[in-house]
Symmetry: C2
Subunit: 166 residues, 2 copies
């Protein structure tokens, strides 16, 4: 019926009736949902001894297919963080034995980051539970509405030029 964003819109309507703040009804909700989902996922991964970003890197490598290796730059773009952050993350995952740095034969500037067997086993074990947990968070929407929502978000994402993971 009414959520936190509706209340914010109501406040603006009262204080600045000259303004139509409808865009906040979408952007504000995307922002709030993103934070709330992050909290849930953080709890989920913590229960499995992982940080959210750890799973993120491992999953990116896993879904790229054998030999489960990507360059630091590719991980960089996939995670949408800066290069310093990825260097740090790779360091820590390597220290835990979940990935290893392999020199790139073709391009000696590049480093290939490869899942170790332990890393692959871990991500394959957790990903199913992770998807089930995400499904739980979306359980309130009917299957039809889930598709509608995914379609609308896809169109919006495309309008931002987010059309490729590479």
């Amino acid at each position: 019926m009414s959520d936190a964003v509706d209340q914010i819109l109501g406040q603006w309507a009262r204080e600045r009736p000259d303004l139509d703040a409808w865009p906040m009804g979408i952007i504000g909700r995307i922002n709030r949902l993103s934070r709330l989902v992050d909290r849930e996922l953080k709890d989920f991964f913590a229960a499995h001894g992982l940080e959210h970003w750890e799973f993120d890197v491992l999953a990116t490598l896993r879904r790229s297919g054998p030999p489960y290796a990507l360059t630091a730059g590719a991980l960089n773009r996939a995670a949408m963080v800066t290069s310093g952050a990825i260097t740090n993350r790779i360091d820590r995952l390597a220290a835990k034995g979940l990935v290893e740095r392999v020199p790139d034969e073709q391009d000696r500037r590049s480093v290939r980051v490869r899942l170790t067997e332990r890393g692959r086993a871990l991500v394959d074990e957790v990903v199913g539970l992770h998807v089930a947990n995400e499904a739980r968070l979306l359980a309130s929407l009917s299957p039809d509405r889930r598709m509608e929502l995914a379609d609308l978000l896809r169109d919006l994402l495309e309008s931002f030029g987010d059309t490729s993971i590479e």
Copy 2:
């Protein structure tokens, strides 16, 4: 037609056909959109000499109505950050003369944070441009689809219990 998340779903379908990763089609997109929108807003506010969080605090105070004063705790919950972060933000806004701390008469544990006249003038000047900028980011969706999207996001937000800004 296809965005970055569709590609990710395609990778999972190839690598783990036993898994139906549909929830990522919603949660992954919300996450990516949130980051992309944040970047846009950061650029917008920078062009107006503001940080995103600065506008956020000022706008929260402004839309609460006269006397444009809230407790630190209320700002805390509105911004969805921890108490240490809000203390820091209030400090810096006060140093810039955009807000001031006022002792709460009713509850001496509380601090009321009030917009200064300069702060009020600033937020009133920028908020209209901000809404127009957000509208620009959503221009690719027809008015009907905007409403559909807002409705779906509202339902989802409610299912997370996000039903009040207080």
